[in-house]
């Protein structure tokens, strides 16, 4: 069923408070971006959960594939020297 009454799917991101990033809240259907924003407001912030909303057509999201998980993410796993806890600092040294 893909008649002309189908509305496209949108991903909704909500900033719950000033100072925080927008976080993925879920998705919804809407005929266009203007209505998607309004539907998102009604659906995802009716209990005062947000101060700002983004909507993005789901079809515009490019996602990494689970099959690419190893080449994408495994190489980052063996570089512990990127993390501060890798380094041993003599006791008593402060502000470091």
């Amino acid at each position: 069923m893909s008649g002309s009454t189908d509305w496209p799917l949108w991903e909704v991101f909500v900033r719950s408070r000033r100072g925080l990033s927008h976080t993925h809240a879920g998705s919804l259907h809407a005929p266009d971006a203007e209505m998607a924003l309004r539907n998102a407001r009604d659906l995802y912030t009716r209990r005062n959960e947000g101060v700002s909303i983004w909507v993005v057509p789901s079809a515009s999201v490019t996602a990494s594939s689970p099959d690419e998980k190893d080449p994408f993410f495994a190489p980052a796993a063996d570089k512990p020297y990127r993390h501060p806890t890798f380094y041993e600092i003599p006791e008593g040294v402060r502000h470091l």
Partner: protein, 247 residues
């Protein structure tokens, strides 16, 4: 106290105005509540319920200014309701509901904006309500554009809805006792705004008369249209069936 008579007079005026505005909100909220489970899309179920809840919240504050909210909502007879005939009109199809929303929310927005600026018992309420109503107007405007400039069928339905409800719009600008409002400016602003939206929606401004021929008055005088009676009978029957009960 010298000021006492003036205070009493002011109370009477405030009560009259609170009833008019409160009944508008109460009755429109009830009509929108009838959509629950029938809306054209699930997203719209949520949107219409939000608007209905905003209006019900306003109604409760306003009626409480005039007395006990439940006594006023459930124990008055038809002739004692002061709401506009526009808001009691049946939902019809979605186009009728949107046309009703467009006409009313544009009016309510302009009215509450004046009340925010003015000095009356309604300032605090209006300051809160004006934000809600701005969203109602926005919702109505966006749907008017989509229905007017959507398909030939939606254009035809929206056009008919705007025309059918047009004759209830004259009453919006009949002065309400107790409200310090520039009614002429209100009407002019309303016409400008509605004309703009309808034109962008490829719909013309309806040409018919904006009031009925009945000179006795309309909703503000407690004279309602026939669909109103069955509506409040349904609304009130349970409450009235158990006199004095608490819920």
């Amino acid at each position: 106290m010298n000021g006492a008579p003036t205070d009493d007079a002011r109370d009477v005026r405030t009560t009259a105005a609170a009833l008019a505005l409160g009944d508008d909100a109460l009755i429109l909220s009830h009509r929108l509540g009838e959509w629950a489970g029938h809306a054209p899309a699930l997203e719209e179920e949520v949107a219409l319920a939000n608007i209905a809840l905003d209006l019900l919240g306003q109604a409760r504050i306003l009626l409480s200014l005039a007395g006990d909210e439940d006594e006023l909502a459930y124990l008055r007879d038809e002739r004692h309701f002061r709401n506009l005939q526009l808001v009691e009109q049946p939902n019809g199809d979605f186009a009728h509901t949107i046309a009703r929303q467009l006409y009313f929310s544009t009016y309510q927005l302009a009215l509450y904006r004046q009340l925010v600026a003015g000095d009356s018992a309604f300032g605090a309420l209006a300051a809160k309500a004006v934000k809600e109503v701005a969203y109602h107007q926005d919702h109505a405007e966006h749907w008017t554009l989509r229905l007017g400039d959507g398909t030939p069928e939606s254009h035809r339905r929206m056009s008919r809805a705007c025309e059918t409800l047009w004759r209830f719009t004259g009453e919006l600008f009949q002065p309400v006792e107790g409200l310090d409002i520039d009614w002429a400016a209100l009407e002019e602003g309303w016409l400008t705004s509605v004309t703009d939206v309808l034109e962008r929606a490829t719909l013309g401004l309806p040409q018919g008369p904006r009031t009925g021929a009945w000179t006795a008055g309309a909703g503000r005088q407690g004279l309602h249209t026939e669909p109103f009676g069955p509506m409040i009978a349904e609304m009130q029957h349970l409450h009235r069936s158990h006199p004095g009960a608490s819920w």
